[in-house]
């Protein structure tokens, strides 16, 4: 703790502490000679208070870090039994599979399919009890006489919805940000900025409601798909929540591009749009990339919108117009009805842990892109 303070501060506090112990009279004398304090007793108690306040403030602000640690500990603690409840009869498989499962859930789904093929033979052996061994199967049927906890449809569902959301929102948000930064007249800027803030301020449950009632019907009429609520509708609805994130970060990094660069480009005879698309946009690309990553994280973790607008059927298919059930929606829909501590509960916490890890990694990478790449590019020159 001591070394975290400014050196000068430490000295004075040490002085005031040592003066309390009465053994160091020279120090007291010196302080009096300096004329620092006429009423030493009062000063001493005062410094001690200052010291305590600083420590208290430090301790309270450390709470944020403690909370993150607690979230880690408690979400993973409740998910942990998954790896230990496996029945004795398949000890050999149970030993191998947890590693495979664990690595898989957090990474791409392609790997999962490979594992799944290997798994199929094992699945026949073991039908009761959900453990790590059947987490990668193809059916999610937690409430039945033989519950099945195959996470594959949920993971694919999340990926489908996220892909639609990001593919739809990223171009719109980036182009709109480019418009504000490069072309927009003043009145358009004054209109767009509040619009984005308003969009960012709409609660996700309202977006979900809007998608469920109005948007799904409209899209069904326009595109004529079979199910009213599906991955596509969910993705488009999600993009309403993702657009403000990508827009804000893109706009921020576009406006941080040094004026020297744009002026140099303009001075060389490039037109406004050439400067915007060949100088400003590439220069800000790490920031834009970070914005997209954060958008993916938001889309992947968002619960209420997908819970209301995707139809919530755990079907495993590549079709975008089928109803899907995402990982986050599964937690939201089923956690209310599970028995504390049973396998279903544990599996839902495991899904939560995967969500947490995934968004955590995305945020960390985005942070690196903004702080290291973008800032170095603009300030390091």
């Amino acid at each position: 703790m001591q070394d975290l303070q400014a050196p000068k501060k430490t000295e004075t506090t040490l002085q005031s502490i040592s003066t309390t112990s009465n053994t160091t009279t020279p120090l007291v004398g010196r302080r009096n000679n300096d004329g620092n304090s006429t009423n030493l007793w009062w000063k001493k108690r005062f410094r001690l208070g200052e010291f305590l306040i600083e420590k208290a403030i430090t301790a309270i602000s450390f709470l944020s870090f403690a909370f993150i640690a607690l979230i880690f500990v408690f979400v993973f603690r409740e998910a942990l039994p998954i790896f230990s409840v496996s029945p004795a009869k398949t000890t050999v498989e149970a030993k191998q599979v947890p590693q495979e499962t664990y690595g898989d859930e957090s990474s791409a789904s392609e790997l999962q399919q490979q594992v799944d093929e290997r798994k199929r033979s094992v699945e026949n052996l073991e039908e009761e009890g959900a453990t790590a061994t059947n987490l990668v199967s193809k059916t999610w049927q937690p409430v039945s006489s033989k519950p099945k906890y195959g996470m594959l449809p949920l993971v694919v569902g999340s990926l489908k919805v996220t892909a639609v959301a990001v593919l739809f929102s990223a171009p719109i948000a980036i182009l709109a940000a480019l418009f504000t930064a490069a072309f927009a007249p003043r009145w358009a800027k004054e209109l767009l900025k509040p619009a984005i803030e308003v969009l960012a301020g709409i609660p996700s449950v309202v977006i979900g409601f809007f998608a469920l009632i109005a948007m799904a019907t409209f899209l069904q009429k326009t595109f004529g798909f079979e199910y009213r609520l599906n991955a596509f509708v969910g993705g488009i609805a999600l993009s309403l929540a993702v657009i403000p994130i990508i827009y804000t970060i893109t706009e921020d990094s576009l406006s941080r591009v040094p004026k020297v660069m744009t002026e140099a480009s303009l001075a060389l005879g490039a037109s406004k749009w050439q400067t915007a698309s060949f100088v400003v946009l590439p220069a800000a690309s790490p920031g834009i990339f970070a914005g997209i990553l954060l958008g993916i994280g938001r889309a992947f973790g968002e619960t209420m919108i997908v819970l209301m607008a995707t139809g919530n059927a755990s079907i495993l298919s590549g079709d975008l117009f089928q109803p899907v059930r995402t990982m986050s929606a599964t937690i939201g829909a089923e956690m209310g009805e599970v028995v504390f501590g049973d396998t279903h509960y544990t599996v839902l916490f495991f899904i939560g842990a995967v969500l947490f890890l995934f968004t955590f990694c995305l945020n960390a990478i985005a942070e690196v892109f903004i702080r290291q790449r973008l800032m170095k590019r603009f300030e390091g020159q």
Partner: protein, 302 residues
């Protein structure tokens, strides 16, 4: 040909990006228009001041409004002081290089990025199953289940955690906006660091703290995922009287009415009107925060 391409691109890039910007504005207007048109006719004083009747198919949303209000009040009481103190530490005490400050900054960024549903899981695993059950065991030996179940206290604390980064970021911004000269003048007059913070810095950044609180309340009122299984109830005949009671909440009410009500079509009006109330509430809060922030910025510019 080259020249033709260039003119084409030169016209289409600004035009196309402008269309995207226009599209965003239109979407915002559609969402708001749809809610207002759908909810306006149901929104009466009676709707705001009575509880649900006839098995949730008629009546108003009074308990949900009160529940939301209590939720954000308890949440602010827990979250705003911690957030403010953390912001004071980060902006006044910590040096940029210190490991502790970097750890806290990292934690705040991480907290801001954690999905809302994970906060719900944490609330369930930590507040209800760990703290709540623990308190029950201490108080009654586990015989009586009082705190170890979803209630308004646990929901509010979960929400406080979720909104903590919002408070920290906007209070820190306000603290940074206090001119350095003011601090130096105070220190030069012999005031200690804490005296300077308490008597000079904090009074000058009161608007910022208020902004942080308002933004947190707006965020907290709109989030539903964290309270799905930490305290929100489908229907309650009475208002929450103690911290260990469950509560009704506006966002949760919208979700439940539009997806799980027995007759979804018949209650469309109620759903729209509830959405309109929630939307008006969050917008009012956001606009006042925007206004306050604008005031802070113009003051520092002067």
């Amino acid at each position: 040909m080259r020249k033709f391409e260039r003119t084409l691109l030169g016209l289409s890039i600004p035009l196309f990006s402008g269309l995207c910007a226009f599209f965003i504005v239109v979407i915002v207007l559609i969402v708001m228009g749809e809610t207002i048109i759908g909810g306006w006719s149901t929104l009466t004083w009676e709707f705001l001041s009575t509880g649900p009747k006839q098995g949730m198919t008629e009546g108003g949303i009074y308990p949900a409004i009160i529940g939301t209000f209590l939720l954000v009040v308890i949440m602010s009481l827990a979250g705003v002081p911690i957030g403010t103190i953390t912001a004071i530490y980060l902006s006044e005490y910590a040096s940029q290089k210190s490991i502790l400050a970097r750890m806290i900054r990292f934690a705040v960024n991480t907290l801001a990025g954690v999905p809302a549903i994970v906060f719900g899981l944490f609330g369930l695993g930590f507040f209800i199953q760990f703290v709540g059950t623990g308190v029950d065991t201490i108080l009654s030996g586990g015989a009586e289940l009082k705190w170890g179940q979803p209630n308004i206290l646990w929901a509010s604390l979960t929400m406080a955690l979720l909104t903590l980064p919002v408070v920290i970021v906007s209070v820190e911004e306000a603290l940074k906006a206090v001119p350095r000269e003011l601090r130096e003048a105070s220190l030069a007059l012999g005031a200690t660091k804490w005296e300077t913070i308490r008597k000079v810095v904090l009074p000058n950044s009161m608007t910022g703290i208020l902004t942080g609180g308002i933004l947190a309340v707006s965020r907290g009122a709109g989030e539903v995922a964290p309270i799905l299984f930490t305290g929100a109830a489908y229907f309650l005949p009475h208002l929450p009287k103690a911290l260990s009671d469950q509560f009704m909440e506006l966002g949760y009410h919208i979700y439940i009415m539009s997806t799980q009500s027995p007759d979804v079509e018949a209650t469309r009006g109620i759903q729209y009107a509830t959405t309109l109330v929630l939307l008006v509430l969050t917008f009012a809060l956001n606009f006042s925060a925007m206004f306050l922030r604008y005031k802070i910025r113009t003051r520092t510019a002067r």
